[in-house]
Symmetry: C2
Subunit: 522 residues, 2 copies
């Protein structure tokens, strides 16, 4: 099964994954949780009952006037389905039936012009809007600081143009990952963007939150794939990108990418595409320890030849993720790297890894990873059911800071959660590599305290402080949302924040766009 | 001789090149000019006599208070040496002794903090400032719309840090191209940035104007090399870049890169560096015509393997530039491509070019190009002496638009100059390639009319309209300056212009920074 064969998944509040594909925890995992002090199943998710008022008749009339009555939903089901994203704190609040971040209505525009008309009329009708494509934010990107209406972009689902000479495709914002691959596959092309949220996330979200996928070593990040975009703002349209690169002023595409709906709603992007590979190869490599693996993958990132997929788990993650530790060979110690190629196998990559002390484990571990690549987050559901706290966070830095960054974040998480009486398991892998640096992705598992929301927020704050102290960035590919807003402001400094607020004020003078997301607002 | 062995050249107003290395036109070239109607030598350059008042005593006292008296120059020589850049219209006005764009004084800060102190005090002392590093702008980037003081950054000339693990170098803005290569070569590294202005331009200018060098196929553009930067503004410092890539909001580095001094003065950048290659190879390839060559280089840009240098001249440029047309083989028709490798020769590249109909001409034409690679602009001086008009312009677009772009710009230039009674020779080459598109670089030669400034402006306006009509960008690597300001505003649209002005107003509330450059200003 290739990416384009995957079904479009409808996500459900309170659950990460498609309820049609539940994942059960193996008995061994439940035993392991007991060692972390996980003792009691969590309460079953609550379906919200009474909710606050939705949109007013005047507001509904305005929305209906723009898109038609059949494309405005104000029932509890639609509103609840668009509440929050998929962070663990979101899931915990969903499970508790907390309706505080529920939209007043959901509107489904079909065209750029309808989006434009919605935004143009928001201020007059006292509406704030949250753009919604896949709904997979894990940083609070769908929870603004005032009542709002959700603009669900799923009807903007077209491949508008495919330029085979330039190898570009114009895709609308609401095209989900698998649908984009299917549309391109029909013409023999691929986008090559496979984030872990792939089954649910969509083109507009990839762009707005600077997504990065599992094949980033070969295909780059989403922001590197975008060569043009169209932005609808309350004051009109901005179209950017007349050439792959330009010296005509700042690269404004890179100002819109990552703006998380605060400057406007991206309605379509022009992306670089590539011919669909006719073969793929995934294999596992073992290194003696994380430091040795880090040196090896840095060598590939800096001197090549780079594979398409390159990931390196640390000792803890390797031990937890490998169902059969014998995969690593005698002694079962060491760390696992996954190396993947779209297209022919490159023996040059293998030579570099071997010279750096790597041991080729063959296709077995590679295929195991490939098959399960989108399944890991599904484990959140049964883990939360069991009463465990499980969450991820990620960061990036220059290579020379990576070892200190890993140590500092791990220490901060262990210290904070241990002090709270719930010593955690902290797993880490390098998920994306560049010539000058890399990203680190952490998974944290512990028992829940009686106040799991506060428990995680305390631990996350400690990790964020550690990231800042090392001089790393608060997010490599999850984005800012509301969760990272303060850390982001510290990272870029008050003058840069003021500049961004000035841009927002020009494009969104009445602050109707995702208020409180990315920027605190005025 | 390698790039790091080249001397640092002191440029002189009215002349492109180092006066110590004059270039003579071959007799055959002078004959060829006669065919274009070039009949009379131009008047000899005039040294300006009477000039307007310079900085006031109060202003000089302020400048002296910040940097010390020995680093403030208000003499005619220093001021004249910092007047304008190196476009043909600049050179023509220089030759006429036109002092209208002369700074009131020149100040030479030594540190970021001195730059910061200068900018902080400008408004109070009614000073506008123009940042100056190499002075090689060809788009009016040094000619603001009010009286000003030049901030010459040449004393910011240090390699501040070299991180061998991350392969990054922190270079100050005033480091000239050859000096940067020499500093890095001492440690075994190269930046790999070799624009045609290399001998004179500097790190700060590369960053502020989004420079692209002749080895861009292998090393990328300068804006792709920058992973961090420090910006001094009248309101304080902005430091950006904690990781190669981040999802923490928009990529603000890309907002500063290309801002041409309108938002602040870049005082240092962190750039990606690479090991210095131990070998280099340059060779020539012949294609039947430009269209065939275009298909071949597009194939390399999209499917690889890319060389380090990749350029393709059209029929006219090939005929003019090849001193010995027999280089092209029997019949002497066709077009010339230059292919260069830093490091081992890649036979895979040759296979792709051969399969696309290319004929390998060997190292002769490649070496000829390499040796003369920085000399072409020097020919402006003797050409202007002879009474010819010579200028270049460049643009970029997606591959599918390149043929139409080339035809439209050529037609516009030929039509405009022919209508003015001076039918031109228009040469063109592809100077930079990307997966989704490429840049086109045009050279125009004709006889001068009695009003050569107006003559060129008329032709350039026609070319700019043609670029916009095709949907290409007004500049691939020269920048905006004042010359492209109106076309740039049309390219990004009024809302984006307003957003940029809002950023400028935050960082530069009294509009002291390069007023009229990039943005018209309020």
């Amino acid at each position: 099964m290739t990416e384009s064969d995957l079904p479009v998944v409808q996500l459900t509040p309170g659950r990460w994954g498609d309820p049609a594909h539940p994942v059960d925890l193996p008995a061994a995992a439940i035993d392991a949780l007991k060692h972390l002090g996980v003792r009691r199943p969590a309460p079953a998710p609550v379906v919200p009952g009474a909710v606050g008022p939705g949109a007013t008749p005047d507001q509904l009339a305005f929305l209906t006037g723009v898109v038609g009555a059949e494309f405005v939903a104000s029932d509890l089901g639609a509103r609840w389905a668009h509440t929050r994203g998929y962070s663990t704190t979101d899931l915990l609040r969903d499970r508790a039936g907390d309706t505080s971040d529920m939209p007043d209505a959901v509107v489904y525009p079909a065209t750029h012009d309808e989006v434009l008309a919605l935004l143009a009329g928001c201020a007059e009708h006292d509406l704030a809007v949250v753009p919604y494509s896949g709904g997979t934010s894990v940083v609070g990107g769908l929870a603004p600081n005032r009542r709002f209406v959700t603009v669900d972009l799923r009807r903007l689902d077209q491949l508008l143009e495919l330029d085979e000479v330039s190898r570009t495709a114009t895709l609308q914002a609401g095209v989900r990952g698998p649908a984009a691959e299917a549309l391109l596959a029909d013409r023999g092309y691929t986008l090559g963007h496979f984030p872990q949220s792939y089954e649910g996330a969509s083109i507009g979200g990839y762009a707005a939150a600077r997504s990065s996928g599992q094949s980033s070593a070969g295909y780059g990040r989403f922001d590197q794939m975008v060569v043009g975009l169209t932005l609808a703002t309350p004051r009109g349209t901005i179209e950017l990108g007349r050439a792959p690169m330009s010296a005509a002023g700042p690269d404004l595409r890179q100002l819109v990418l990552g703006s998380e709906g605060a400057f406007g709603i991206i309605t379509s992007v022009v992306v670089r595409i590539r011919p669909r590979p006719v073969e793929r190869h995934f294999e596992g490599w073992r290194f003696e320890n994380f430091a040795a693996g880090l040196t090896a993958i840095r060598r590939l990132a800096q001197d090549g030849p780079l594979p398409t997929v390159l990931r390196l788990s640390d000792e803890a993650e390797t031990a937890v993720n490998l169902a059969d530790p014998d995969v690593l060979g005698g002694g079962a110690s060491g760390v696992l790297a996954i190396v993947g190629f779209d297209g022919p196998y490159n023996s040059g990559t293998a030579e570099v890894l071997t010279a750096a002390g790597g041991q080729n484990l063959g296709e077995g571990p590679g295929e195991t990873w490939r098959v399960g690549r989108y399944r890991a987050p599904y484990l959140r559901d049964p883990l939360l059911d069991e009463g465990a706290l499980v969450e991820t966070l990620e960061t990036a830095a220059f290579w020379s800071r990576i070892p200190a960054l890993k140590a500092a974040v791990t220490d901060a998480l262990v210290k904070s959660l241990t002090e709270q009486g719930t010593p955690p398991l902290v797993l880490c892998h390098v998920s994306h590599v560049y010539e000058t640096g890399a990203s680190l992705y952490f998974t944290v598992i512990s028992a829940q305290t009686d106040e799991p929301l506060q428990q995680w927020r305390t631990a996350k704050a400690a990790a964020s402080q550690a990231i800042a102290a090392v001089g790393a960035t608060i997010s490599h590919h999850h984005g800012v949302g509301t969760d990272h807003r303060a850390a982001y402001a510290d990272e870029i400094g008050p003058l840069a924040v003021e500049a961004l607020n000035a841009v927002k004020h020009v494009l969104d003078p009445h602050a109707v766009l995702n208020p409180g997301i990315l920027l605190e607002g005025s």
